[in-house]
Structures are given as structure tokens and as C-alpha cells.
């Protein structure tokens, strides 16, 4: 490290702490072009650059450190920001405006920004520092917990707040018998009232997590049956192997104390509305900062502080930090919990509505103003679908409707009475993580962002915690409507329907051909948009042979000739090689055929072999040989299952924990032949090393000690998307069941040529919604989805095999109807011992030579 060569002409801006807020601060600086004015340097104590601490628990459920990373350093490098990890700043000398690092090195600053976050509070009871005790804040903490959990069976979390329960969920997922000890008389004392806490406790106990509230731990000593014994104030005790402290956080203000900056009575670096501390050249942002006597333990307020500090540094005094809302909604151990504003009904004269259903374990409370006009707060346990609407009433101080209690009552059709987004004022905050208002969204739409995806890109809304995604979609749709932008979802001029509508019409009315659909529901004669789309739907629903007389005119070239057309009009041939596994005999057949026909051969990116340069009449001849040797069509031409990429897995690999090869072959054979809105790719890896790159596929499967983790809706290609973890530790049967349902639901509801990744982004409710449909059967569709998939599986036919037996279909493959010769424009030259299409120039030369 060459810190002492930090000399630069520009004033020096130093950031201490590279957590979520410190990183956001840098992003904002760069956005404002501050890197041209300042030499920016960042020091972080952790070994990693900033990562998404909010989603830290996902480190246990399949995400790697790289997935959680908020930057790989490129943004910093590209903008000349110098960064140093594992570099703790130990002292500030304010008079000299210099810093001291743990390594002893010193450097000077002109502006200093403290973004040191907070640290977990560990109650100083005797025994708190024994072995096998942990906190839950960093990736290293989680590594240590995971290592310990492998050796033991019982785990206990001290602290029943928001983080404690999240940690308890993690311990449970690691396979430990889990208990929670809470000092207060109820869980989540900050966010929930007594009944709410009680309902949550019951729900969590139903999940086999033991909960002890109103329990004070006196000391921790050696256990008899387990590693520790925790002795409680009432004389009882609990034996456990692993203890995780999550008893609150404390602002990391050590540097401020040491250097004499003003700090709060109970800690925290005092800042004003510009996030300036008691020293003009020092700012503090994020969880270490104390504003108006308050610490904000959430990421969104930290981001707002970062913006305010950047604005002040850049001489813009408009964007000041004016406090932040601490409402939260989360899923803890699978239970919905939400808390808004004055959850404890402490406002003078306020009134309360309560709804409780002991059967389904839901509890909801609204706190309203004395005159009943405004919402002051709310508590939700068991069902968060009421949250968005309540939050908007609260945040925007919108007058409550006459029957305000209906906002927490179950409505007859199950959906809560939603607040029309029309009713929201322009200033309504839609995304608190990125501070995006309804007006910002409206501006973005006016400026040409005409889809949720575009608006996300422009405003960053819904790219933080993701909690606002459903609301964002509503606002965008509403704005488009208001603008009179006709969001025509008609598939083309021939059908005033979406692809999903057409799918339903075909299915419900039992329509079997394009002509019939056109006659009943369309107009004109069809085009290259609706024909292949309908062809694909007919195939998904009825799985007819695609070259039947009535279907042939619907097929895109590649489907019509069951091969991929190349630039010169010749074709490539891709036989199916399930899972990429192939016998030497079959390899020889492929080699022999390629040799006989002089085809160019290449291993594809999908673990199979592509033979290029076949003419139309050669296709049936070649397939005759391939089918005879046991090959099936690879459907490289279709919007259908392409490949299931595999790794060798436990059969050969020393790390493999399950038979990924066998599963890949099984899945490829099951789903081959399914026609879908776009192509579908799978991969199966034998362990978390992920050699098959399953997390970049539409369907990704990764073997675990407990079965399989299922990932969905990943994409490579033009706009890569990491797949989302959908379910963990599935057995073979459940895995297949879930995949059946996900794929069929996609096939039924996606737009034409919409990959699963884009479909997922467009699903209102996103991943959680898909889980509800597929895992909880919210729409009551699962049986149908499975039986439809089973129909496709049962009616599979190799399209090439069928074609070879169909005289009529074979006629399709004549080069000319009245002439036996070839297309003389298809000319090959040799390169690296194989053929390739001649360039235009080469063709001219060849013609000149011949002439």
C-alpha cells in the first residue's frame, strides 16, 4: 500500500468507512462530478469493499460475497477514487487536519467524512466473551457462525428485535435448534405493540423456534449437555452450543470521541441538517450520525444523509437532511411484520382501530388522529398486503376515507382496499431508499421512460430494498395513462389482445388452429409477429406437430426447417446432447456425418456440438443418419428448452454433494419439447462452486447438503441478470414440481419473446408473488400447471423423427421445386482445415477465376 504518496494538487476529501452509506456517498459524489474537484480517498476497515448489509442473511441462502457486493471497485477506479480495504483509521488530529491509520501511517485531509456505521452491542454479562459467541453484522461474522454451526446442534439468539429474529431465522436455516431470549416483555418492542408482539411470538413458536420474553440473562458458564449454560435472573437456565448477541446497535463514534467532536449523551456524532459535525470540515453520515437526538438504524435515512452531505460539499444548500421515516415492513421467519409511525399510540388524544383473527394469526392496528382524519401509525402482523396503502396515507397525511377501518379489514375478495395512486400528492415518497417522489417518476415518464424498467434505470427507484416495486409499477402505469400514452398491449394489428389473452382464449375455447383463432378473435390475415406467437401458443397448449399443414405457415424460418438459418441461407444442425454428456460412439457419428457432408463443427456455448453449412435438401438426409444413431432434435431453432448445462458433480468431482449430471439429464429430457414465449436455459451444479453457472440461467439448480437449491429467472445475453434464489434444500420431487409450475406459469403469462428475466422484472409483486403462486398456491393454479406440463412431457415427439416419416413435410426441403441443382450463391472456402462461408470479395474472385 502506498498511502504516503497520496499527494495531489486537488483538495483532499477523505471518507472513513466503506459501508452502505459510505459507498452511496461516493456514488453521489461521482454523480455530481466531485472527482474532478477533489482527490477522493476511502478507507474501510473490512476486507471487502461495500456490500449490501441489508441482505446479509442471503449469504446463508446461496448468495456469495460477490453477489452482495455493491461495487467491484470499477466505479472507483474509473473515476480516480482511491480506496483501501483492511485500513482502520485510529485517530484524527483535527488541528493538523490529519488522520492516523492502524498501520501507523498518517495523511492529511481537507474535508473528512465519517461513515463508520455502528457496532453490535454485547451486554457485558459474565461469560459474554466465551468461545462460540458471535455477533451478526459482517460477512466475517457469518463465516464464523457457519463454521461453528457445522459442529453443533443448538443455537440461541440474545435479543428479540428485528435483527435478532432475522439472525434466529439464519440459525434455523443452518439446521440448529433455535431459541430467542428477549429481555423485554415482547418481541420487537420498538416496532410492535403488546398484542402484535404476542401474535408474532405465537407464529414464530409455531415454526419451532423457542421464544423466551421477559428473560434476563445473568451469566454464561460451561454447560453440562451443551457448550454453554445461560443462567437467567429467575433461576432457570438454558443449555446451548452457540450464542448470537443481537441486543441492539451502538453508533461507531470512537474517532469522534478521541478527537473531541461533539457527541450525544448516549453516543452518536452530532450533526446538523447538512450533516456537518461540530467541526466545519468534518461530516458524519449513516448510522454513526446523531441528528436531532436521533440515530437512524436503517439504510434509507443514511442515503438521504449522504445526499445532503454531498450537496453541501458541492455548494448546494437545498438538499438538507430533514429526518426520515422509520416505518418498516419485513418478513421474519416467514411472518409478515409491518410497523408505521406512532405504532405505540403515544400521540395525545389519538384513537385506535384493531382487527385480530386468531385463526389465521393476523393482527392489525391503525392509530388515527383525534378527529379521525389522519393516520398516525399502524402495526401489522401476519399480512403485509395492507402496508403500502397505509404507509402512503401516513407519509402524505392524506385524509382518511369515511370507513377508515376498512383499510385493515379483510375485504370480501381477499384484497385490501387499495389507495388509488391518483390520490397521492406529487411529493409522495414512492421509494424511500433512493428518495424518489411521485413527481420524480412523473418527470421520468415525461422524459421518455415508458416502462417500469426504464423508470428504474433513470430514477433508481426500487433498486434498493425493493420494497416499493409494486407501488412503483402502479405509479408508472398511472402516469402513462395520464399522459395519454397509449400503452397498447395488442400483439399486432391483427389481434387486439396480449399474448396472455391469446393463450387463455386458445386454452379455454379449445382453439386448434391459427385460422380458427383469426376467424373468432382477429382480423386481416396475420403477420410475422402474430403467426409465430400463435404457433408457439398452440404448441405449448396442444403440443401438435409443428409442420402440420395448418401450422407450417406460422413457423419462423428456423422452426419451419427445424434448423438454424445462417447468413448465406445454409443451415446449422444441433442435435440434443442432454446435460452435455455424450458417448464416444455418438461423438464418432457426429464426426463421421460432418466429414461426409463437409460441415464445419464447433462446440457451442451450451455444451453441445453444432454442425454448420448444410443445404436445405441435406437436412433430412443428415437427420436420417443422426436419428438412426439415437440422436434427437436439439431444438436450437425453437423458442423452447435449449440446453441444461451441467457439471460432473458428485460422481467424479471431489467437492460434489449430489448427482448434478443425473439431474441435468433428467431435467433436459423432461422439458425438451416445451414451446415457450422465448428460449429457456437451465444449468445444474454439483456444489456451490457452481461450475455450471446455474445462477445465470432461466432455471438454475445447485446441489446442497440438504438437496437442491432452485434459482429462477437468470439471464446471460444482452442484459445479464443473476437468477433469484427461489427455494432451498428441495428433494428431487419437489424440485421438479416447482420447475413444472414456474415454467408453465411463465408460458401462460409472459409476453411474446420475453425471457424469464424480463418477465420476472415485470411481475407485479416480483419474486415474492411468484413464490406465493408456485409454493403457496395462492391462485389455486398449481394442479393445472402441473398437469399441463405433464401433458407436454407425455406428448413429446422428436420433430425430426416425425418429419422423416412424413412425405408431405419432406417436400418442404427441396431447394427448388423445378430444378435439382444447388444455390450457387452458397460458397465455402477453407480456414483452419474447415469450411466457412466465402466473403463477397472471395466470391467475386472465385467467379473471375472460373470465368
Amino acid at each position: 500500500m502506498t498511502i504516503n504518496t497520496l499527494t495531489a494538487d486537488k483538495p483532499r476529501l477523505v471518507v472513513v468507512g466503506n459501508g452502505m452509506v459510505g459507498h452511496h456517498f461516493i456514488e453521489q459524489l461521482i454523480e455530481q462530478g466531485a472527482q474532478h474537484q477533489f482527490a477522493i480517498n476511502v478507507f474501510g476497515e473490512e476486507p471487502h469493499l461495500a456490500y449490501d448489509r441489508v441482505h446479509l442473511s442471503e449469504y446463508f441462502t446461496g448468495k456469495a460475497a460477490a453477489d452482495l457486493a455493491m461495487t467491484d471497485g470499477r466505479l472507483y477506479d474509473e473515476n480516480g477514487v482511491r480506496y483501501f480495504t483492511k485500513s482502520q483509521v485510529v485517530a484524527i488530529e483535527r488541528d493538523a487536519k490529519s488522520l492516523q491509520l492502524a498501520s501507523g501511517e498518517r495523511l492529511s485531509y481537507d474535508i473528512l467524512v465519517l461513515a463508520t456505521g455502528s457496532y453490535p452491542f454485547v451486554p457485558p454479562m459474565p461469560g459474554h466473551d466465551r468461545d462460540n459467541t458471535f455477533v451478526y453484522r459482517t460477512l466475517e461474522d457469518l463465516d464464523a457462525i457457519r463454521d461453528c454451526a457445522k459442529q453443533v446442534t443448538r443455537g440461541t439468539v440474545v435479543g428479540g428485535g428485528l435483527l435478532g429474529l432475522e439472525a434466529a431465522n439464519a440459525l434455523k436455516n443452518l439446521g440448529l435448534e433455535t431459541s430467542v431470549i428477549e429481555f423485554a416483555p415482547r418481541l420487537m418492542p420498538v416496532q410492535l405493540d403488546e398484542t402484535g408482539g404476542q401474535v408474532l411470538k405465537e407464529m414464530i413458536e409455531g415454526l419451532e423456534v423457542k421464544v423466551n420474553t421477559a428473560t434476563a440473562t445473568q451469566n454464561i458458564v460451561d454447560g453440562e449437555q451443551a457448550f454453554h449454560r445461560m443462567n437467567f435472573a429467575d433461576g432457570s437456565y438454558l443449555e446451548t452450543d452457540l450464542i448470537l448477541f443481537s441486543a441492539g446497535i451502538r453508533p461507531q463514534d470512537a474517532l469522534a470521541r478521541q478527537s473531541g467532536l461533539e457527541i450525544g449523551e448516549r453516543g452518536g456524532i452530532c450533526v446538523n441538517n447538512d450533516c456537518v459535525t461540530s467541526d466545519d470540515s468534518i461530516y458524519a453520515i449513516g448510522e454513526c450520525a446523531l441528528w436531532n437526538g436521533r440515530i437512524f438504524g436503517l439504510v434509507a435515512p443514511g442515503y438521504s444523509m449522504a445526499k445532503a452531505a454531498v450537496a453541501h460539499i458541492m455548494g448546494d444548500s437545498d438538499k438538507r437532511f430533514m429526518g426520515a421515516d422509520m416505518s418498516t415492513k419485513l418478513k421474519l421467519l416467514g411472518c409478515d411484520v409491518g410497523s408505521i409511525g406512532d405504532a405505540h399510540a403515544q400521540t395525545q388524544g389519538c384513537k385506535v382501530f384493531v382487527y385480530q383473527d386468531e385463526l389465521t394469526q393476523s393482527y392489525r392496528k391503525m392509530v388515527v388522529s383525534e378527529d379521525g382524519k389522519k393516520l398516525l401509525g399502524a402495526v401489522l402482523v401476519g399480512d403485509n398486503s395492507y402496508y403500502d396503502t397505509l404507509l402512503q396515507y401516513y407519509l402524505n397525511a392524506i385524509d382518511l376515507p369515511d370507513n377508515a377501518q376498512s383499510l385493515i379489514l379483510p375485504s370480501m375478495d381477499g384484497a385490501p382496499a387499495a389507495l388509488g395512486v391518483d390520490a397521492l400528492p406529487a411529493t409522495a415518497s414512492i421509494c424511500s431508499c433512493h428518495n424518489v417522489s411521485k413527481q420524480d417518476i412523473s418527470d421520468a415518464v415525461c422524459a421518455g421512460a415508458l416502462s417500469v424498467g426504464d423508470v428504474k434505470g433513470v430514477t433508481k427507484a426500487a433498486t434498493g430494498c425493493g420494497g416499493c416495486a409494486a407501488l412503483l409499477k402502479k405509479v408508472v402505469d398511472n402516469e402513462l395513462l395520464a399522459l395519454g400514452v397509449e400503452v397498447s398491449t395488442d400483439i399486432c394489428e391483427h389481434f387486439a389482445y396480449t399474448r396472455q389473452d391469446l393463450y387463455n382464449l386458445i386454452k379455454i375455447e379449445g382453439i386448434k388452429s391459427f385460422a380458427e383463432l383469426l376467424q373468432k378473435h382477429g382480423k386481416g390475415h396475420g403477420c410475422e409477429i402474430c403467426k409465430p406467437a400463435v404457433g408457439s401458443i398452440l404448441a405449448s397448449v396442444w403440443n401438435d406437430y409443428v409442420l402440420k399443414k395448418e401450422h407450417i405457415g406460422l413457423q419462423d424460418t428456423n422452426d419451419r426447417f427445424l434448423a438454424n438459418m445462417q447468413k448465406d441461407g445454409s443451415y446449422s444442425i444441433v442435435p440434443r446432447i442432454p446435460g452435455g454428456e455424450i458417448t464416444p460412439e455418438k461423438l464418432i457419428v457426429l464426426g463421421q456425418v460432418a466429414k461426409d457432408y463437409g460441415l464445419y463443427t464447433k462446440i457451442t456455448g451450451g455444451q453441445r456440438i453444432d454442425l454448420f453449412g448444410a443445404t436445405l435438401p441435406q437436412l433430412p438426409e443428415i437427420w436420417e443418419k443422426l436419428v438412426a444413431a439415437g440422436f434427437e432434435t436439439g431444438q436450437a431453432y425453437g423458442k423452447s428448452l435449449r440446453t441444461v448445462k451441467s457439471c460432473v458433480g458428485s460422481t467424479w468431482c471431489r467437492y460434489g454433494v449430489n448427482d448434478s449430471m443425473g439431474m441435468a439429464i433428467h431435467l433436459e429430457n423432461r422439458y425438451k419439447g416445451l414451446r415457450s414465449p422465448h428460449k429457456i436455459k437451465f444449468a445444474v451444479s454439483g456444489c456451490t462452486r457452481e461450475c455450471a453457472e446455474a445462477q445465470s440461467k432461466d432455471i438454475g439448480v445447485i446441489a446442497t447438503e440438504g438437496g437442491w437449491n432452485l434459482y429462477v429467472c437468470g439471464n446471460g445475453g444482452m442484459k445479464p441478470r443473476h437468477a433469484d434464489l427461489f427455494a432451498t434444500d428441495l428433494d428431487d420431487e419437489t424440485l421438479v414440481k416447482y420447475i413444472d409450475r414456474v415454467l408453465m406459469f411463465y408460458t401462460q403469462t409472459a409476453d411474446r419473446l420475453q425471457r424469464t428475466s424480463v418477465w420476472m422484472e415485470s411481475l407485479e409483486g416480483g419474486l415474492d408473488y411468484l413464490k406465493e403462486v408456485v409454493i403457496d398456491d395462492k391462485l389455486g393454479l398449481c394442479d393445472e400447471l402441473e398437469s399441463r406440463m405433464q401433458h407436454v412431457v407425455d406428448t413429446f415427439q422428436c420433430e425430426w423423427k416425425t418429419t422423416l416419416q412424413d412425405e408431405q413435410a419432406l417436400k418442404n426441403f427441396r431447394q427448388f421445386v423445378n430444378y435439382e441443382g444447388d444455390d450457387t450463391n452458397v460458397v465455402f472456402v477453407e480456414e483452419r482445415n474447415q469450411i466457412r462461408p466465402a466473403t463477397e470479395e472471395e466470391k467475386q474472385q472465385l467467379i473471375a477465376k472460373a470465368g
Binding site: H525, I529, D556, N818
Partner: protein
């Protein structure tokens, strides 16, 4: 100039709602069979001047604003079957030929 009708194939060799290729005096042409259209059969050049390959016979038929067109299988430009005009590029046009269906046979006029 006199027109000379040349026999290309039987009507049953055509594919309903799609194209096939034929050879006309050493030139590749594409024959489309569109039973819904008044003219029923169209002949245009098989050469896609943008994709630079003989592939138009393998494109999808599209009826756009009452016009019969074929979409090139390579880069999807539309060519009007009647006039040969490319809808996406003003200056691009492919040759067309008169066609007639008589006693189950397909004839193309060669100039």
C-alpha cells in the same frame, strides 16, 4: 416485348400460406401461395438484397395494412409481393413476375 408463360410446377407443390423456391431461366424466384388473396400466387425474386442471400422464399407471409408482404428470414425487412417494394428501405426493391394458375398448374411470365 412479348410475354412467354413458363410452367413452374403443379399447384399441389405450393405450400399454403408460405413460399417455395423455383428456377426461372437460371434465376431464383420465390413463389408464394396465398389463397386469401385475389391473385392467389405471387412470384418475386428469391434474392434478399439486404441480407445478400437467396432466402426470400423461406420468409413468413405478413398481411400489413391490407398489403401482402413477405418478411425476410434474415433481418425481417418486408417486401411487397405485388410490387417488390421494400417497406423499410425506400430505395430497395426486388423483381416481381406475373403469375397465373391454370388447370392446376403454375405459370410465370418471363420477359
Amino acid at each position: 416485348m412479348t410475354m412467354q408463360w413458363k410452367l413452374m410446377c403443379e399447384q399441389q407443390d405450393l405450400i399454403e400460406g408460405a413460399g417455395i423456391a423455383a428456377m426461372l431461366d437460371g434465376q431464383q424466384i420465390a413463389l408464394f401461395y396465398v389463397p386469401e388473396a385475389e391473385q392467389q400466387v405471387f412470384a418475386i425474386s428469391n434474392w434478399d438484397p439486404i441480407g445478400k442471400a437467396n432466402v426470400l422464399s423461406r420468409g413468413l407471409l405478413a398481411n400489413l395494412k391490407e398489403q401482402w408482404t413477405v418478411a425476410s428470414p434474415l433481418y425481417k425487412q418486408h417486401y411487397e409481393l405485388q410490387s417488390g417494394q421494400c417497406l423499410e428501405e425506400e430505395g430497395v426493391k426486388v423483381t416481381t413476375w406475373p403469375v397465373k394458375l391454370e388447370t392446376g398448374k403454375v405459370f410465370v411470365a418471363c420477359r
